[in-house]
Amino acid sequence: MSTSTLESVPSLPQTGNSQDTRILKYSEALNEALREEMRRDPTVFLMGEGIAERGGIWKVTENLMQEFGAKRVRDTPIAEASFTGAGVGAAITGMRPVVEIMFVDFAMLAMDPIVNQAAKYHLMTGGLGRVPLVVRTQGGSGTTIAAQHSQSLEALFYHIPGLKVAMPSTPYDAKGLLKSAIRDDAPVIFIEHKLLYTTTGEVPSAEYLIPLGEADIKRPGRDVTLIAWSNMVPRSLAAAEKLAGEGIEVEVVDPRTLVPLDKQRILESVCKTQHVVIVQEAVRRGGVASDIASIIQEEAFDYLDAPIEIVAGKNTPIPFNMKLESACVPREEDIVRALKRAVYAG
């Protein structure tokens, strides 16, 4: 393996009071995570389409080339298979690449390096090889860009042993999880959501990490557990708020990473509320929600007072027309109805 001449520099000193927070956009929080990790570790570098001078179409890499130079922030040709594979090759030889795939739909062009190479390398080399690669991408519908730019494909990566899958729903989670993903020795598929980039939230001024595999209770409640990730979290919180007015207290659990999945925190909540709704934007068939439901019925069957409700996308490619598009993914009212069914069935 490579004997890098570059040595990691110590972490930046934490500045300011640890209580200090700012309001940042999701995209700004991601940008900050990349900047901090690139300052901390010279083996971290970025590549993707239009991410250097222009800062990427979601502005996540804005001004990073200006700070770190064109060697560490690289524009690629539109060639997902090879630049993702190059990320794998750099990772196994001592670098920590962060590859941006502009849309998760385009990751389908890079399934060989992700699925056959990155995910399996550690096992195939008898544990000697490591692939500290992050593939940053984004998915989801809601901007009328039709079937090939709107998918929610986390189940494909969730299905592949050897990959970790992160799907942050807030600026705070986005920053803390991305920093952990970069430091992780396994390949992490980091799926952002196109509707979340401009959302804002509190982010501490001081450095922090969020471990991969730790769910977060986004809203505590006693009557029903609602499990959701990515853009379904704000939508679920809105539904929960609505039901609070009707005396139903919803506990919203955001796993934040689907692999590893924080089964313990999910099961603790289920045992407390005894009612479960799982919300995913992805199509229902073969989805992560079904797998989480299977885990719950296996491990907490005796605690359930009602069938588990799944609210999911329709089994269809996403159509272009705005009304048709929104009819394909869970809406706030769909979530409200499912919550009521779950609570009143018990």
């Binding site: 393996m1 490579s2 004997t3 890098s4 001449t5 570059l6 083996t43 570098f45 060697k71 560490r72 690289r74 690629t76 040709p77 060639a79 298979a81 090879s82 630049f83 993702t84 594979g85 190059a86 990320g87 794998v88 090759g89 750099a90 990772a91 196994i92 030889t93 001592g94 670098m95 690449p97 060989d112 390096p113 056959n116 190479q117 399996k120 390398y121 096992l123 195939m124 080399t125 008898g126 544990g127 000697l128 090889g129 042993p161 590893p260």
Partner: protein, 320 residues
């Protein structure tokens, strides 16, 4: 001119690959080696010549037909046999097998079960080198079959625009599994694709270890000088079918005879004696030594334990 020592070294490598493969095929027939197995018989000069031009700090990326690359890179053949047997002492602890054999600590980033799957990994290894400002070179072995996969063109383009220290070595054995090259591409001179990407390209007799070595040395110099990637096509021919159970009946007898008359191992011996001035006895001494090494390696593998199922299950427990 090359020294006798150098020619003795290349002959030893060529012969080790030949005897390793021959012995492994016997062991496959006996059921000790399992799984897919793609012999490097007939192509020994390419891996040997290219790896002789590299330094230990350099990287190689191998293919499904990868035993020869592994040996040429200096692997211990005992650990290789052990991996082919699926034993705990193998290079990949019995988890990789023939198609995934790797020696990451020695810069052999691994064989690959996906034809063309390693090419972009090589680009990444060279990219890391370039970012770190080091002078390592990465040699990617690939087959003529892989050259028709889109990722080959993408990877050559990336290496070219980024001026990477990457040598793409096409081992053109003229068959993609069983499909002859004329049916796979309209222009069977594969090195001609390089100039279209601005990449220095040439073709070489892949059965002649010194021709391969010299061309590889030029490629290494160009890469170390920071002058970007090189495409090197080495023409060769398999001595048998695609894998150990493929009799290769589709390979014309005349072609097979022609290439067997240019056997790279026989030629390596000839070069040792005629160019290196070695005596017959010196060549024989190498042969005896290699035969003994191969037998000792087989014994090591046979004595090696199977991996523990319990330990394996424990190692993956956290992922369940």
């Amino acid at each position: 001119m090359h020294t006798k020592e150098f020619l003795a070294g290349t002959y030893k490598t060529l012969l080790t690959i030949r005897l390793f493969e021959t012995r492994a095929i016997q062991l496959y027939r006996q059921g000790l080696v399992r799984g897919y197995f793609h012999p490097y018989l007939g192509e020994e000069a390419i891996g040997t010549g290219v790896c002789a031009a590299l330094k230990p700090r350099d990287y190689i990326v191998s293919t499904h037909r990868g035993h020869g690359h592994c040996i040429a890179r200096g692997a211990e053949i005992g650990k290789m046999f052990a991996e082919l047997f699926g034993r705990a002492t193998g290079y990949c602890a019995g988890r990789g097998g023939s198609m995934h054999i790797a020696d990451v600590t020695a810069g052999n980033l691994g064989a690959n079960g996906i034809v063309g799957g390693g090419i972009s990994l090589g680009v990444g290894a060279a990219l890391g080198t370039s970012i770190r400002g080091e002078d390592q070179v990465t040699a990617v072995f690939l087959s003529d079959g892989a050259s028709n996969n889109g990722v080959f063109c993408e990877s050559m383009n990336l290496a070219a625009i980024w001026n990477l220290p990457l040598i793409l070595v096409i081992e053109n054995n003229q068959y993609a599994v069983s499909t002859p090259i004329e049916q796979s591409t309209r222009e069977p001179e594969l090195y001609k694709r390089g100039p279209a990407y601005g990449v220095t390209s040439s073709t070489v007799d892949g059965n002649h270890v010194l021709e391969v070595y010299e061309r590889a040395c030029e490629a290494v110099s160009q890469c170390r000088a920071g002058k970007g990637p090189v495409l090197m096509e080495a023409k060769t021919y398999r001595h048998a079918g695609h894998h150990v159970n493929d009799p290769g009946l589709y390979m014309p007898k005349e072609s097979l005879e022609y290439y067997k008359s240019k056997d790279p191992v026989v030629l390596g011996r000839k070069l040792l004696i005629e160019e290196g001035g070695a005596a017959q006895e010196e060549a024989k001494a190498i042969e005896t030594a290699v035969e003994q090494e191969v037998e000792a390696a087989v014994e090591f593998a046979k004595r090696s334990p199977e991996p523990s199922v319990e330990e394996f299950l424990e190692s993956i427990e956290a992922c369940q």
